[in-house]
């Protein structure tokens, strides 16, 4: 028990010592996750809204695929992209392996189905009069999508935050594609895994606490936005 409490107090000290190495890792993690979340959102939200607004053959099949992809293990995405980005892979000449870009791509792919599904749910849960009203007022397909997103923006923001939360907590693909290179591709999750295995439990715990703080802050902001909207 002493070991855990001592480690916890050492971790808190580390956090408040503002060690640049720790905050470099946090910064890398946040930057990669935000970029992945924005890229995924810019594709998944319009795709989700378009799918929700239209009836077409194969819609149920796409929904099944999305549900399946939501449950896809991150190491499988890491494995597939590793095969593509490795030196001998079809995209090996792009030189993306062990770069933040590779992690961003993996995380964007990982969170795309989550964000798309949440966007579909957001539209389906919106007031059923919204779409007929916009059409009767003259909305064309593009302006219809834009105004539906605008009206359901809080739910869309929740999709973005959920995607970001999933990306920042991801470890499998980040380890395989980033390589955990210090100061370059080392993220909070890969650092926790590495430092703990090396016996530096305090550093792992400090990063874990920071990860929890980020998750808490995101949820707090989201709750505040919902309550201020009501």
């Amino acid at each position: 028990m002493n070991y855990f409490i001592d480690s916890l107090s050492a971790a808190i000290e580390l956090i408040f010592s503002f060690d640049p190495d720790i905050y470099q890792i946090v910064f890398t993690s946040v930057l990669i996750s935000i970029t992945a979340a924005i890229i995924a959102a810019s594709l998944a939200i319009p795709a989700g809204v378009t799918m929700a607004l239209n009836q077409f053959h194969g819609k149920a099949f796409i929904q099944h695929i999305l549900n399946t992809l939501m449950a896809m293990p991150t190491v499988v995405i890491g494995l597939l992209l590793y095969g593509l980005f490795s030196r001998l892979g079809p995209l090996g000449h792009w030189g993306l392996l062990y770069t933040p870009t590779a992690i961003i791509i993996a995380e964007a792919i990982l969170i795309f189905p989550i964000m798309m599904n949440l966007s579909i749910t957001a539209v389906n849960s919106a007031d059923p009069r919204l779409v007929p009203t916009l059409i009767s007022l003259g909305a064309k397909p593009t302006s219809l999508i834009i105004n539906v997103i605008r009206t359901t923006r809080l739910a869309m923001l929740a999709a973005l935050v959920t995607g970001f939360g999933r990306a920042i907590g991801e470890v499998g693909a980040a380890m395989m594609l980033g390589g955990n290179i210090e100061g370059f591709t080392r993220t909070m999750t890969t650092a926790i895994a590495l430092e703990t295995s090396k016996g530096d439990f305090e550093l792992g715990l400090a990063l874990g606490l920071l990860l929890l703080i980020i998750a808490f802050a995101l949820n707090f902001i989201l709750s505040w936005l919902y309550s201020s909207h009501d």
Partner: protein
């Protein structure tokens, strides 16, 4: 006469039930048209078809003599303003809601201010411009929704049950507004109502709708049943008609065609029923009676006739009408 709409052989099914079946319907331009019918008659469905928010399964619709096959283009959409029975305003102010309509219609930003001001003045909602949409009362909401629908100056305004759930003050305001748009602005206004008298009071023309079918007859004395060999059986009474349309399941009898008497009449009229007077209602210029003859018949007579016949509630009376007074549909 310019036709705002011409509908031909329109059929629309909803959940495997035929919700609309209209062989032919013409709505002239520049008129105020009331669409009357009971709840579930298909009024909202027909209005959504006219607003091109629902597409019929079969049939042809022309809009100002133009055949419409695919979704409306911008110019055609700009001809129609639609206000739902329960209008939906987007989050934000009244003004932002009205401006959205102008933006979606692609009208130049420099025109927005003037058009918004005109729409607010016409609907007497200028004082609500900066109010949040979720803080409006029922009557205010309907008038704001009308302001939003007319701000881009459509030729046709479609209103689904505009008077429902409103108090007398707001009903009067809306009636004035509808008349103003129809008469002074010379627009085609189509509105639905289940209140026949109100519909007749402010409209130039009436479309009666029963179970998705249009009928020329007023929507009083409408009975459901089966027709066989010119005899319509409602299950309670049998009514003679001149029609032999065996596929028809409804009849309507114009209350003005029914003769009321204290004793059975010796005449050529094929239909004669005896019943009990169960309601006497005084309208503006006439008296409306309801007589229970197995089915309830509505009869319209003058106040003088009421006095002459010395009628009172519970009294037995006789009804007579010709078989030609029976509309089968």
């Amino acid at each position: 006469m310019t036709k705002a709409y011409q509908l031909t052989n329109i059929k629309l099914s909803y959940q495997q039930r035929l919700a609309l079946d209209i062989p032919s319907l013409t709505i002239p331009a520049g008129k105020c048209v009331a669409l009357l019918g009971e709840n579930g008659a298909g009024k909202s469905t027909l209005l959504k078809v006219l607003a091109f928010l629902s597409r019929p399964d079969e049939g042809k619709i022309t809009l100002f003599e133009q055949n419409i096959k695919s979704p409306l283009n911008s110019a055609q959409r700009q001809k129609i303003g639609f206000v739902d029975q329960h209008p939906y305003l987007l989050p934000g102010t009244v003004e932002s809601n009205i401006q959205l309509a102008l933006t979606l219609q692609g009208l130049a930003a420099k025109e927005h201010e003037q058009l918004i001001r005109q729409a607010l003045e016409l609907t007497k909602t200028t004082h609500l411009a900066q109010k949040l949409s979720n803080n409006l009362s029922g009557g205010e909401l309907k008038r704001v929704a009308i302001a939003r629908a007319i701000v881009y100056q459509p030729d046709i305004l479609i209103l689904d049950e505009p008077f429902s759930h409103l108090d007398q003050h707001h009903i009067q305001l809306l009636e004035e507004l509808i008349l103003n748009i129809a008469k002074q602005q010379n627009k085609t206004v189509i509105f639905s109502s289940h209140d026949r008298l109100q519909g007749m009071a402010i409209s130039d023309e009436i479309i009666n709708l029963v179970a998705g079918l249009t009928t020329a007859s007023p929507l009083l004395n409408v009975f459901h049943g089966t027709l066989s060999k010119h005899l319509f059986d409602t299950g309670k009474i049998k009514v003679h008609s001149t029609s032999s349309q065996t596929k028809s399941h409804h009849i309507a009898i114009d209350p003005r065609e029914i003769i009321l008497s204290a004793q059975p009449l010796q005449s050529s009229m094929r239909n004669s029923f005896t019943g009990r007077l169960i309601l006497i209602a005084e309208e503006e210029e006439y008296v409306r009676l309801t007589v229970d003859c197995g089915e309830n018949f509505h009869v319209i007579i003058s106040p003088e006739s009421l006095n002459n016949l010395n009628l009172s509630l519970g009294k037995t009376v006789c009804l007579s009408f010709k078989s030609t007074a029976v509309t089968v549909f």
